[in-house]
Structures are given as structure tokens and as C-alpha cells.
């Protein structure tokens, strides 16, 4: 799988955020300030645009530049976290022009690390991480067990969806949602929905 498939993944990312723009706005309007649909569709579009016509073949660099473009375009909470994830993934994959299944595990693990280092949140604190973490574990386990990347990606997307759904019941301790205290438990976390969409886009692109 070469850099072209990576650009294909970034294409699907911007598509899925575009399609789910209003869905994210609605989720964030209940919990936060309602801008998540705008920032995610604008941000992933900027990320894709930054690399779509690039001659760069280094997958790491492509991800890094995509992340940087996203950070510049949408410096909101999730915008910067997604930029941090993409940039960290880029650094980890630097030098690779071809990605093997294990590299995608590395990619998402690095994405996760980039987000958690920046945001200092832990799994279980009702954030984006609660969507991505189960997906990364699933992907890792599936690939280790020799499951086909396509199936592994679908399984990971399914795990992300469950992770997103499981944010109901969690107490928010970060961002605007945290100001609601105990009342936050009854709500779905919009950032975790973004993790679910990322994994869906990945499954589709692979």
C-alpha cells in the first residue's frame, strides 16, 4: 500500500466529515458550543488539500504536513488535537513510502499518543480517546492474529462505534462538557464520534 492509498484515506476522511457535518454540529450543540461539525469538515478538508497534489512520496511527511495544515486551519480543541495526532503519526512513519498492515497499527497508535500527550486526557474521561482507544486495540490484535487488513479495519471501526456509544455514562472532565459535572454522564461525547468516523473512513479507504 503506497502513499496514494494514504492520500485516499485522507480523501475519505474529509468526505466523511463533510457528510457528517450537521450530525457533529448537533452532537456538539447538546454538549458544547456546536462548532465541531464546522471545525472537523474544514480541518480535514485543509489536511487533504495540503497533500492531494503533492509530489511527496514519504508517507510520514504527508501525514505531518496534513496535520500542520489542519492545525493552521482550525485551531479549536479538536482541531489542534487532530493536528497533533496526524503530526505524531507522521513522525513515526517518516521515511516509509509503503505501508504494511503493521504500519497502520503504528499510525493509529501514534495518532492516539499525539492526542493524549497534547490533551493530557486518559481513557475513560469521555473524550476522543474513548472512541479511538478500543479501535487501536482491535486493530493491533487483529493484525497480530493475522486477520486481513480490510476485516481488521472494519472490526476496528465497529470497536470505535462501541467506544463512542460507551461514552454515555462517563463523567466528562475535559472541555466544555466538564462544566456540566454529573449531568454530563447522560450525553454522548462528540469527539468520540469523530474517532468513529475516522475509523469508518479508514475501513472504507483500505
Amino acid at each position: 500500500m503506497d502513499y496514494n492509498s494514504l492520500i485516499g484515506f485522507l480523501f475519505e476522511l474529509k468526505e466523511i466529515m463533510q457528510v457528517n457535518r450537521d450530525y457533529l454540529i448537533d452532537l456538539d450543540s447538546v454538549v458544547g458550543d456546536g462548532d465541531l461539525g464546522l471545525t472537523m469538515s474544514d480541518g480535514f478538508l485543509a489536511a487533504y488539500n495540503a497533500v492531494k497534489d503533492s509530489n511527496e512520496t514519504d508517507c510520514g511527511k504527508l501525514l505531518y504536513f496534513a496535520g500542520k495544515a489542519m492545525g493552521t486551519a482550525v485551531p479549536s480543541t479538536m482541531g489542534t488535537l487532530m493536528a497533533s495526532g496526524l503530526m505524531r503519526a507522521g513522525r513515526e512513519l517518516k521515511g516509509k513510502t509503503n505501508l504494511l498492515p503493521q504500519d497502520f497499527v503504528t499510525l493509529f497508535q501514534a495518532y492516539m499518543d499525539g492526542v493524549s500527550d497534547r490533551g493530557k486526557a486518559k481513557v475513560g474521561e469521555k473524550t476522543f480517546l474513548d472512541g479511538l482507544d478500543p479501535a487501536v486495540s482491535t486493530l493491533q490484535n487483529n493484525i497480530s492474529s493475522g486477520i486481513d487488513i480490510k476485516d481488521a479495519a472494519s472490526n476496528a471501526a465497529e470497536a470505535a462505534r462501541k467506544g463512542f456509544e460507551n461514552t454515555v455514562g462517563m463523567l466528562a472532565v475535559h472541555g466544555r462538557a466538564a462544566t456540566r459535572g454529573e449531568a454530563s454522564r447522560s450525553l454522548l461525547d462528540p469527539g468520540a464520534a469523530v474517532a468513529m468516523l475516522i475509523m469508518e473512513a479508514f475501513a472504507k479507504s483500505i
Partner: protein, 335 residues
Amino acid sequence: MKKIINKPENYVKEMLEGIYIAHPDQLTYVADDVHCLVTANKIPGKVGIMTGGGSGHLPLFLGYVGTGMLDGCAVGDVFQSPSPEQILAITKEIDSGAGVLYIYGNYNGDIFNFDMAAEMADFEEGIRTETVIAGDDVASAAPSKPDEKNKRRGVAGIFFVYKCAGAAAEAMMNLDEVKRIAEKTCANVRTMGVALTPCTVPRVGKPSFQIQEDEMEIGMGIHGETGIRRGKLEPADNIVDEMLEKIVSDIPYVAGDEVAVLVNGLGATTLDEQYIMTRRINSYLADKGIKVYRYYVGEYVTSLDMAGASISLLKLDEELKELLDKPAKTPFFRQ
């Protein structure tokens, strides 16, 4: 939404263009980006101080760029953080070898973007940066325990941090010293607000929340974050007493302590009302034996067109008094 604006999406850009037109001798920008605002009068060898954050709070943040205060400000969209690249561009411009101090309010978006910029400044440019985050709103969280991160929102009290740290940098103190002053100021300042009406973000076009004609919300944040009590609008004296009780009980005060007081209007609340509050603040503090060294009254940190006000108290020692008294000259603040 009743505003004298053109297209809402050009709101911040056009505002900034107006700023540069009105203050050509004081402010300019770098990186070909009006959001990257810097002083027109850089002082060689001085520690650079910059801030940044979302628009909608004028004179915060950019209004405090000038002699004796800040050197630069990254300006975000309304209530949105500026980007790491914008912060980095200003960092590069205002560093003259002595390093750069970031002072901004305790909001995740800003923290993430300043942290990213700080990494870039270090990795890409070899510039040393330090960070002090103001979190002065006593209404927003309980006081942090030792070693715990401060969870409080940064609000109007940051003005004092700019003023004291700016005076320290102007006195050619080094980065560690300026940072120490900024941290000390943060540790000594407490703020509490009250909101009477919502504000309207131009691109959103409708009020940020609903509140009854006879209600107020004590402790609301400057973006409309939920406060600690919503209730019937009370007389000014009662409102002031309730706010001050919370502020004064948050750090230990003993009779004879001195403070600086900032009475801040949020936008639609008149100066008259701010002075009516000042009058009560004075007698409240006198009763407690707390001496007011200096008053600042006016719009220092607004929330667009919100009606409401905040009170900030800075507990003073001799060092802070001296720094507070130093002259400053920015487009929005002169002393």
C-alpha cells in the same frame, strides 16, 4: 443580533484592519497575517511577552500590546484560539535572544495551540519559551490542591498579570524572573463575574444562552460558561457583596492587607454601574480591614455585547506594588 458589521465571516479581519489604521505608531503585524500582531516599538534584549486567544474580548488581548506590557498577541477568531503557526510567527518576531514568555488564559484550545507552538519554537527555531497560564475565576472550579492542575478559567484578572510581568520585562529582568513575577501575580489574583444578558457571536447570529428579563447569573464565564447561581436580579450592593465574599475567602486575607481592584464591564453595562459597584466594593473591603492601593474601573475584558461585570482583586506585596505603578502605554491602556 444588532451589530454594525459587514459579513460576519470578515468580522475579525476587518476589526484588525481598523486597529492597524487607528494605531499605526503602536501596532503592526508579521507573517503577512493581520492576526499576528506585534508592537511597533520592539526593545532589543528584552524578554518578549506574548499572549493570544479568541477575539470578542477587546481590549483583551491585543489592546495590551505596547510599552511596559506585551510585545505580541496572536488573535483568533471570535472565542477561538489562534493557530500554532500564528503563535510561532510572533514568537520569532518578538524574541531578541532573551526568550519569550507566553501568558494566556486557562482554556484547552489555547493551551493546546500554545504548547504546540512552544514545541515548534524549540525544535524549529531554538527559541526558549516559558508559559504562565492565568486561571483567576473563583466561580469556575474549587481551588486546586497542591500539585494539582489549576482548573479555573482565565478571566479579567489576567490584566494584572500582563501589567506586572510587562513592567518586569521592561526593567530588563530575565526570563526566569519575569516568569516568577507572572506566576506570583497569578497566584495572588482572584476574579468573579456576573452576567445579565447573553452575547451574540457574529457568525452564530443568535444569543449564546437564554436568561429571563429579571434574572442574573453569578459566576458566569466570559464566553457564557455556566456560573454558580442563577437568580433574580438583585441590587448592586448585594451583587457586589456576594461576589466579594467568594473572592475574599479564596485566599487568606488579614486586616491591613493591600489590594488592587479591577472593576470590569463586560460590554453593555455602563461605566455608571461600574462606579456604583466600586462604591460598594470600597466599603465592603474597608469593613474587612483590606486597604485598596489602586482602582481600575472600565472595560478591560469584555464578552462582546454581554451586560454584566466582574471584580478582580490582586493581593499586593511591595514588589507587585512597584511593578503595578510603573508606566505603561498601549492603545487601550495608559498609566
